[in-house]
């Protein structure tokens, strides 16, 4: 079974630039999550999708972050404009219910 795919694996940008991350969940997994993990901390939930609908985006900084899940499969997370404090690993996870399957993450460095 293929795992959760994410790209790119690494991204370095200047502050105020924009960036987008892509996630392809495990086939058939209805629930998709984006987490932000700052160095030395646990993952923080940004947004949760059920199929292509948003279940929870209460922790998403909506003035600069946006996310979509087209056709209930792939998802993209965008940051525009980026700030220094957005430097983190962005983890995508999917689930059938029960527990999470994580992708390898995208490490974002904002200079």
């Amino acid at each position: 079974e293929a795992g959760v795919a994410q790209s790119p694996r690494y991204k370095i940008i200047e502050k105020r630039q924009s960036v987008a991350f892509w996630c392809n969940p495990i086939s058939g997994h209805a629930t998709l999550y984006w987490y932000q993990q700052i160095l030395g901390q646990g993952p923080k939930l940004l947004i949760q999708f059920q199929n292509n609908g948003v279940v929870d985006d209460s922790q998403l900084p909506k003035d600069r972050f946006s996310a979509e899940r087209l056709k209930g499969v792939d998802s993209t997370l965008k940051i525009q404009p980026a700030k220094l404090e957005d430097s983190a690993v962005y983890l995508c996870a999917s689930s059938l219910g029960g527990h999470l399957f994580f992708g390898p993450g995208t490490r974002l460095t904002v200079l």
């Binding site: 279940v55 219910g97 992708g103 390898p104």
Partner: protein, 113 residues
């Protein structure tokens, strides 16, 4: 306020000993508690799940306890090996069926040969 706390300091133990990691939470009433392992540069990997009405769960060398009165879970690795060195995260599912998972801060475990 709501918190999930794990030992922030790294835990170093000798190979062959039992490692015990703690997860404490406040102002949550989780339906499930899960433990994940995270290696550097990788996403977390699910290890074990325990339900609110279960006291203990075992899987091979792993054991998890869940005390909803103390609001605490303990995660034990028996006969620890250097390959067990990683960061261990606990996660709460806030209510059954929401599939919303909140993670603790993680504890870094190092098993010394």
């Amino acid at each position: 306020s709501q918190k999930i706390e794990q030992n922030s300091e790294a835990l170093n133990i000798q190979e062959g000993k039992t490692a015990t990691l703690t997860c404490n939470y406040t102002n949550y009433s989780p339906a499930y508690l899960q433990w994940y392992r995270q290696d550097p540069g990788r996403g977390p990997v699910f290890l074990l799940l325990i339900r609110e009405n279960e006291k203990e769960k075992r899987k091979e060398r792993l054991k998890v306890t869940f005390d909803t009165t103390l609001k605490q879970s303990l995660f034990h690795i028996t006969a620890s090996q250097p390959a067990d060195s990683a960061t261990y995260l606990c996660a709460l599912e806030l209510a059954s069926g929401t599939y919303k998972y909140i993670f603790g801060t993680g504890t870094r475990l190092k098993v010394l040969a």
